[in-house]
């Protein structure tokens, strides 16, 4: 079986699962875990958009 993901979906899948693990392992209470997981996910995806626009500007 071969799965082909585009750049954005690969980054989104990576961000989702990495954020879950970071949330669980880096905080103590359930509420803090959820908050930190969401924060990591937002930072990952934010970083993707910032890097994407930076590359677009560099290419022009």
């Amino acid at each position: 079986m071969t799965i082909t993901l585009n750049h954005f979906s690969a980054a989104a899948v990576f961000a989702l699962f990495a954020s879950i693990v970071f949330g669980i392992t880096h905080r103590d209470t359930t509420r803090e875990m959820v908050r930190y997981g969401l924060y990591c996910f937002a930072m990952f995806l934010g970083g993707v958009f910032v890097a994407g626009w930076a590359m677009w500007l560099l290419r022009r």
Binding site: M1, T2, I3, T4, L5, N6, A10, V13, F14, L16, F17, A18, I20, V21, F22, I24, T25, D28, T29
Partner: protein, 138 residues
């Protein structure tokens, strides 16, 4: 402040090594999330297993390459260290000769990174299971 830290270190050193402090990290390495599950952190363990296993299997399905111990190149060795963190997933992949990588797919390199990161994330999960076992974390 410094005395307080020294005191904590001494208390930590004085604690005997429990069976769980050895078993949880070992099992957690072999099966991602199992270190949490045997300590009755069911949801955390399940979420860790699903996240790490899915990332690893997606990497495999994306035609990612698995690194071997005798790669020779320093970067290959680092890749091996990351991959081996996935425990049984890595062992099964290696035993079945999967994960040979395909140059034909541009996203195969993403797959390789997915598998390395899955192993590295499992190392973090193993450390977390150990911290729960020694009572450093709830």
């Amino acid at each position: 402040m410094a005395n307080s830290t020294t005191e904590k270190t001494r208390v930590a050193e004085a604690q005997p090594l429990s069976m769980m402090a050895v078993l949880a990290p070992a099992l957690g390495w072999l099966i991602p999330g199992a270190g949490h599950i045997i300590q009755r952190r069911w949801i955390r363990g399940l979420l860790l297993f699903v996240s790490i296993a899915t990332l690893f299997l997606l990497g495999l399905a994306m035609q990612g390459r698995i690194y071997k111990a005798n790669g020779g190149d320093i970067l290959d060795m680092l890749g091996f260290v990351g991959d081996v963190g996935a425990g049984a997933l890595y062992i099964v992949t290696l035993a079945n000769d999967w994960g040979q990588g395909a140059i034909a797919f541009a996203t195969a390199d993403y797959g390789t990174k997915f598998m390395i990161v899955a192993g590295l994330l499992n190392f973090i999960a193993v450390a977390d299971a150990y911290h729960i076992a020694i009572g450093k974390k709830r």
